[in-house]
Symmetry: C2
DNA sequence: AAGTGGTCTAGACCACATA
DNA sequence: ATGTGGTCTAGACCACTTT
């Protein structure tokens, strides 16, 4: 059936050649999103190579996020999930105006249904990097809230928020239940409004546990966002450690030359 | 030599068990950064599995960014490269104060030597997403400057900057050489100061071409930053499309409750 | 029952890096 | 020359999903 053949004498391996071929077809649209590819045994016959070669080629495409394999079913051109935009600028504004968690408000903007599973609330010794940001001694106890946030019942973000004891000890922030207004609003209600904050982003590949929790396809990176809020007197209020599925999120920021204010 | 053995009857595959074992050892530090792992044939004998199993396990760790393989040499615990912080807030400030490209200034902060290779300067029809940001018709010609930016002679960023013809046509921005002051300063010198801007980030896996250009290890994602500058009257000046090696960069941002100004 | 991808074996030859 | 990872073959059995 296939016109193009693979060249065993090429310096590109057979698997790479086959992957290149399929990538081109997918990008050109001659294999549409969601459509099923031939089975591995079919490829084996069609191109006269071993199944190992076919699997190596398909695995490479899986890692590029181009196709997905479903055990016992087949291999398919990957459907790109919808992308949610996370806007740094709006985060702080939102939690002031709405009396709901920022996550819920941003989900609503995209017409998606937010939910959350509390994974645990406890006192723990602070990891070293968290302790540094909170400007406390390494190993000192902090209040940790771990939760999994979902969009339309699909896992989207793993969150861990760290609060210093002087702020959170004995307060509603140690409650094992979800906080109706969201943690940021609770901190403000405790008399500690945030005056400014920093966010630091890094992208990397997930480990197996993270991949399981977020139900990630193979070849999907994660973005780790570390978010630190400060009082007006530059005292750290919290460190939020959020892990985003990279195929479902993009991050937006704005800057203005002093005094300017851009439109919405 | 090894005490721990693999269990063929487990529901976790032999490769996964071996990968888990090695991951634990690496994280615990009993295998230090840069140290060489046993060869694939040694693992084969030590654990009584086929080379396929060993390779699957090692490949998984490669994809997690934990180890690197060097053909004809061996497999090693990966050394994490130094991380450069890219700060949104400082970008605009920097290009005003220093008369150099932002990239050069930020590199200097980290004590690293910046350089660049111009990949090409040309007029091309604008891709659809770029045209949308520039608020021009899809397919209309724009000036495109493509370059590869390096730190200590290591590829770090693939950049493509798009300028509308009304701004860049016939100007120094069409020069095939590197711009001493950097494109942002040149645009301002042409009488078009930027008043505000937006940045949008997404993380994904690179395709083979991007991996080659950036000399990426396997399992390293890329971060695509789309940067758009506007005049005071909200007219788009340029779209910068930058592709960062994710293992060498982190991205930082700040927000302030209106009026506040955080410390450096 | 039939077909799919997932795992695993036991070989082979190659290209590359070091000594 | 030796040892390394890279590629490839030709099988086998398993677990899963559909018809």
């Amino acid at each position: 059936m296939s016109r193009t053949v693979l060249d065993p004498t090429s310096d590109r391996s057979l698997a790479v050649q086959l992957a290149d071929l399929l990538r081109t077809e997918i990008r050109a649209g001659s294999r549409s999103q969601g459509s099923q590819l031939p089975s591995e045994r079919e490829f084996e016959n069609d191109y006269g190579v071993s199944r190992t070669v076919v699997r190596d080629a398909l695995d490479a495409l899986v890692l590029e996020g181009l196709v997905v394999k479903r055990k016992g079913f087949g291999t398919f051109v990957r459907q790109q999930p919808p992308v949610r935009r996370v806007s740094s600028r709006s985060r702080h504004d939102l939690h002031r105006t709405a009396n709901k968690p920022v996550f819920d408000v941003e989900a609503a903007i995209h017409g998606r249904v937010p939910s959350r599973r509390i994974l645990g609330v406890s006192r723990e010794p602070a990891p070293t990097d968290i302790a540094q940001w909170l400007e406390i001694e390494a190993g000192a106890d902090v209040v940790v809230r771990r939760r999994l946030q979902l969009l339309d019942d699909q896992p989207a973000v793993i969150s861990a928020s760290y609060y210093p004891l002087w702020l959170a000890g004995g307060t509603i922030l140690e409650s094992p239940d979800a906080l109706k207004r969201g943690p940021d609003a609770e901190i403000e209600a405790l008399g500690h409004p945030a005056a400014w904050g920093t966010e630091v982003f890094r992208a990397r590949m997930p480990d197996p546990q993270e991949r399981r929790l977020l139900a990630l396809d193979a070849g999907v990176p994660v973005v780790r966002m570390l978010h630190i809020d400060y009082t007006e007197s530059n005292c750290p209020l919290q460190v939020a450690d959020d892990l985003y599925a990279a195929d479902q999120h993009e991050f937006a920021f704005m800057w203005t030359s002093e005094g300017g204010s851009p439109p919405a």
